[in-house]
Symmetry: C2
Subunit: 265 residues, 2 copies
């Protein structure tokens, strides 16, 4: 965050590496889309209006496909490419994107503002990216079946609409349970989370997996329980005074060591 000329700038930078964040054989156009979406989702969670992106691009297998996907993503999200750098590498491809946004609401939402008594909400279903990734790995050519994983949305408009109402907000990139635990720690509260209340985009038998999968980029936020939210959201829990664990999942105390989601360095 940076204050400049009466505005608050919100800046995010995400990197992706071949073999770690995307598969060597994955369509570079999808990789480009995801790189844009995950950064814009960070801006969305701050209620920020995206102003542009800078790309750090290491040349890869099919640069034209990457550029095509980048163009589609930038057009879809209405964000200009402001600059960046291109380099040659000698190993797996590494990519970086910086997104710059303008805060539309002060204070700018963070993950540290949840108060005991607040309700915990999520904007929509999780598990769709999980199904999409599984279909992709299974070699399914059905573009729609894999779309949620390949071409995630960044909830930019939703983030701006919600920002004035929330006490804390973040995007779910590593799983609802793990990200909720992180928000709880940052806020100094414990979340009592009702697992059945979390909307899922998969069969009931996969609920546990869906709660531990990231990549759906839903927004997770807290607000007073009676808040008149501007968009339809799903109430999935409440904030309690800080207990011995950051999460109570259906009453069961859980912490990050319990395999709550996607842990990466």
């Amino acid at each position: 965050m940076l204050d400049l000329g009466g505005e608050a700038l919100v800046l995010t930078h995400d990197m992706m590496a071949e073999g770690v964040h995307f598969l060597p054989g994955q369509d570079p156009a999808d990789v480009a889309w995801k790189l844009v979406a995950c950064n814009l989702s960070d801006l969305a969670s701050k209620g920020a209006q995206p102003l542009g992106v800078l790309l750090g691009y290491m040349f890869g297998q099919d640069d034209a496909r990457f550029v095509a996907g980048l163009g589609e993503a930038l057009a879809h999200f209405g964000v200009p490419l402001l600059g960046g750098d291109t380099i040659s590498g000698t190993g797996p491809q590494a990519l970086g994107l910086t997104a710059i946004g303008r805060a539309t609401c002060r204070p700018v939402p963070s993950r540290g503002g949840a108060q005991p008594g607040d309700a915990l909400w999520i904007t929509g279903a999780v598990g769709g990216a999980m199904l999409g990734c599984e279909a992709l790995k299974a070699g399914k050519a059905d573009a729609e079946a894999t779309r949620a994983y390949r071409r995630p949305e960044a909830l930019v408009a939703e983030g701006q609409a919600l920002a004035p109402y929330v006490s804390a907000m973040m995007d779910v990139s590593d799983g609802v349970l793990l990200d909720a635990a992180r928000m709880a720690r940052a806020s100094g509260v414990t979340f009592a989370l009702d697992s059945a209340a979390v909307p899922i985009a998969t069969h009931e038998t996969r609920r546990g997996d869906a709660l531990r999968w990231g990549d759906d980029y839903q927004l997770l936020f807290t607000a007073p329980a009676d808040a008149a939210l501007p968009i339809a959201c799903h109430k999935i829990g409440e904030a309690l005074p800080q207990g011995s664990s950051p999460l109570l999942l259906d009453g069961l105390p859980l912490s990050e060591a319990d395999g709550l989601g996607y842990e990466h360095r």
Copy 2:
């Protein structure tokens, strides 16, 4: 460039890859310094005041040394780390840095503004980084002998001081001759360059090499020949109406195909 709240933001992003932009055995602290310096030099060439940086960091051989060098560079240049991302990779280390600055002068200098009749100037000597790199490759442990290559300066104050006086400006990262040719093309002029007037930090026998080596991060700029510059600079040539080649080096027409400097993708 981005206009926001009455300010012009200047944004730069440079990437570096192990085995391409730095050697696998190079001190990570020096790599960190250079990553910061080369981005801040970009801001300097726009006359911008640095506001902060975002780091994209792939874990490497000695992360503690990298962090130490990063801290030294940020303290030296007085710039805060605003955020970024850390990832694991499976191959050679890739690094990215985004620098954000505030323009101190409008219009913001670009490489495209040189006018016929302008003089061409450089802030200081080139060739020091070349000597430093050669000493490093020769295994010399003398920190001072390699310093110009390992710990380049970014001429941030000089760039801000010069910005109101220049018609075009850029930093010399790929060699004076090559970068001058680029400025000439961008401006639609030809530069008549007096090779003997370029200050060099090496023996006269190496002048030709020094003019083709980057990494010194001097500022190259044009201004009216009688400009009362606020700092001491070296007049090395003049801008002529565009001819058939971008450069006349001591009267000899040269273009990018003639091996003017460090060409990278």
